[in-house]
């Protein structure tokens, strides 16, 4: 392997680099979405690409989410590799049909004759007073959809490597970008590289309890683990990275080792990622468990505007610590 320089970059810069590298490398890659052109996107992820690649490959659209994803899917059927931006994940309902009934099923229902290699990037997650329609964690909406891939990075380096891997991949991919992570900085290798899909990362090793999380919740889990260490609790933290199809092997292997599991997810508990992982662990690790699995998840309510109320709804470091303490009893 060639030695590549590692620089400090924000999550947004890392995503931007990935898009740039993918477009440079493959003329079939193009971008489509609202205000992604000259403006560079609501969060600046596509900044500079319109000037570099032109408006044919960085395509601004009207507020037409179904048409954005429909266009992406149709062109992908023809061999292009579109990367679409849906400004906020909350708007995915507008193109749900295109993703769920069209992109995700196409390869299967047409017996492998078509594929839909699209990447749909979208900003998700709460914690900033965005209110009920700009704060949701939507992975649960798509968890039950065979054929769809859900990728969810937590660090700038993974954001770049996973985005490049997603663009290379032949499946339709929902690429979740948590808004609270956009401005974080981390080490990002220079140049083109991919981070494997369907592979979780053990981001902290421990022996007493396994904490499984994704996106922003990985950071809450790591902060919780650091504090728990002061109490003498050694927590292992797993960053899922691909939410569907997820890396069951890494999760199960870790829980078999530690004997305790806390699963963390920002979305409501019912029918969400935390519930899915909890069921997996119950099924696969029942006889290894020293305590029942605990789900630390969003409360069963929409996300309110007031920061004081939002804090009550969303999981955070304190709630993760509480969860771990309860399985350590």
């Amino acid at each position: 392997m060639t030695q590549t320089a590692v620089r400090m970059r924000t999550f947004v810069q890392a995503l931007n680099e990935a898009l740039d590298l993918a477009m440079e490398r493959d003329p079939h890659v193009y971008l489509i979405g609202e205000d992604i052109g000259e403006m560079g996107g609501d969060f600046g992820v596509t900044r500079g690409l319109w000037a570099k690649y032109g408006e044919a490959r960085v395509r601004d659209t009207p507020l037409s989410e179904a048409a954005i994803i429909g266009t992406a899917v149709g062109s992908a059927m023809m061999g292009f590799r579109p990367v679409a931006e849906i400004m906020f994940a909350d708007f995915l309902g507008e193109c749900y049909d295109q993703l769920v009934n069209n992109a995700a099923k196409m390869h299967y229902m047409f017996d492998g004759q078509f594929k839909a290699p699209i990447v749909v990037r979208t900003a998700c997650g709460g914690g900033f007073g965005g209110g009920p329609h700009h704060s949701q964690s939507v992975e649960g909406w798509f968890l039950n959809v065979p054929g769809l891939v859900i990728v969810a990075p937590s660090t700038p380096a993974d954001a770049k490597g996973l985005l490049l891997a997603s663009i290379e991949n032949d499946n339709p991919i929902l690429f979740l970008e948590h808004k609270a992570l956009y401005r974080i900085k981390g080490e990002v290798p220079e140049g083109y590289y991919t981070t494997p899909l369907r592979k979780a990362a053990v981001v902290r090793e421990g022996k007493d309890v396994t904490i499984v999380a994704a996106m922003k919740m990985v950071h809450e889990a790591l902060a919780a683990a650091a504090e728990l260490e002061q109490e003498g609790v050694s927590a292992e933290v797993i960053d899922l990275r691909t939410i569907r199809p997820y890396d069951a092997e890494t999760v199960v292997g870790s829980v078999r080792k530690t004997g305790r599991a806390v699963v963390v997810n920002e979305a409501p508990k019912i029918g969400g990622l935390a519930s899915e992982l909890s069921a997996l662990i119950g099924e696969e690790c029942f006889y290894d468990l020293k305590a029942p699995v605990v789900r630390v998840a969003g409360l069963d309510a929409p996300i309110p505007f007031s920061l004081a109320l939002e804090k009550i709804i969303l999981p955070d470091k304190e709630k993760v610590i509480e969860g771990v303490r309860s399985v350590m009893k």
């Binding site: 193009y30 044919a56 659209t61 009207p62 037409s64 179904a66 048409a67 994803i69 429909g70 266009t71 992406a72 899917v73 149709g74 062109s75 992908a76 059927m77 023809m78 061999g79 292009f80 579109p82 049909d97 295109q98 009934n101 069209n102 196409m106 390869h107 299967y108 229902m109 047409f110 017996d111 492998g112 004759q113 078509f114 594929k115 290699p117 065979p146 054929g147 891939v149 991949n169 032949d170 499946n171 369907r198 199809p245």
Partner: protein, 323 residues
């Protein structure tokens, strides 16, 4: 302008193929040999034959739920095996999608068939991307979506026509206005019973044609595809027609309306009169064409029935590409 007699006779034969296909299928459906739901294109043969005649294998079309006939014609014309559409509807291994798609999801990219989507009209959005691909590659091809009058109620109708207009995409909107969406009359569902009125605001050519007159339909489609192939952007064509099938199998429309369309406006009967008026073919000649096509359909049905069900491994195959 009158069509030359060879073309007219070919279209007559294609119209009979569509009708025989649907009648044969309906018979087998009633016997329980065809699973699922069945929507037929009987009554709309002139519209369908005109579309099939002008679409090339290198074009792309998204068929609707009544397009078995177009699918079979495309298969026959470009691959020589229309029976694979029949087998698909029977859910057999020899079908175009190995029986995984059925009536509402038959596709074959080799003949330009990009597949129906049973969420009616979703491909009004998808067609944009196919058209964009043609445009980006500079290919003079047509991306056609076939939509019913009811389907025009989808929000995607606006999103699609608007985006096709601003990007001048090579999209051909073929709107089959057969008067009803299940039980709802077109005039009750839309601000205008003439769908073309709804399309005009987007600023590209929009025409209406008698969808039961094969000559008029053929020429209207020709004009549309020529416009699109010349790089002049989208085109909207509304075919005024009527489907013989009521709600699934029940009839709910006024008896006089049913009589009028079946007796006075039957597209096949009208085409037959036109051909006979030209004088070069006899009634016996036309009867022979009809009998040949019907025999062929029976062979297709036999082929489908004799075909095995899909390999059980297909049940979970191809959920993901490469995984």
């Amino acid at each position: 302008m009158a069509l030359d007699i060879e073309t007219l006779v070919d279209l007559y034969r294609d119209m009979w193929l569509i009708r025989a296909f649907e009648f044969g299928l309906e018979r087998e459906f009633k016997k329980g040999n065809v699973p699922g739901m069945l929507h037929t294109g009987v009554g709309q043969e002139a519209t369908q034959a005109a579309l099939a005649a002008h679409l090339k294998a290198t074009d792309a079309f998204f068929p609707d739920h009544r397009c078995h006939g177009i699918n079979a014609l495309a298969e026959e014309k470009h691959q020589g095996d229309g029976e694979r559409i029949m087998a698909e509807l029977f859910g057999r291994a020899t079908g175009v999608c190995s029986g995984k798609g059925g009536s509402l999801h038959s596709a074959n990219p080799k003949v330009g068939n990009f597949g129906d989507n049973a969420v009616e009209g979703s491909y009004m959005a998808t067609v944009l991307g196919v058209a964009l691909a043609f445009q980006m590659r500079g290919q003079p091809n047509v991306a056609c979506c076939i939509i019913g009058d009811g389907t025009v109620g989808r929000g995607e109708f606006h999103e699609s026509l608007n985006m096709a207009a601003i990007w001048k995409l090579p999209v051909f909107y073929a709107c089959v206005n057969n008067g009803y969406a299940i039980s709802t009359p077109v005039g009750k569902a839309h601000a205008s019973a003439d769908i073309v009125d709804l399309a005009r605001g987007y600023g590209f050519p929009c025409e209406q044609v008698d969808g039961n007159d094969i000559e008029a339909a053929y020429e209207a489609v020709q004009k549309a595809v020529e416009h699109i192939r010349a790089g002049q952007g989208p085109y909207f064509l509304e075919f005024k027609t009527w489907r013989w099938q009521g709600i699934f199998s029940g009839e709910f429309r006024p008896p006089e309306e049913v009589r009028y369309w079946k007796e006075e406006r039957d597209p096949i009967k009208l085409a037959r009169q036109k051909i006979l008026e030209r004088g070069s073919l006899s009634a016996a000649d036309l009867d022979r064409i009809e009998a040949e096509v019907k025999a062929q359909i029976e062979e297709w049905i036999e082929f489908a029935k004799a075909s095995p069900p899909p390999d059980p491994a297909k049940a979970t195959a191809d959920v993901y590409v490469g995984w």
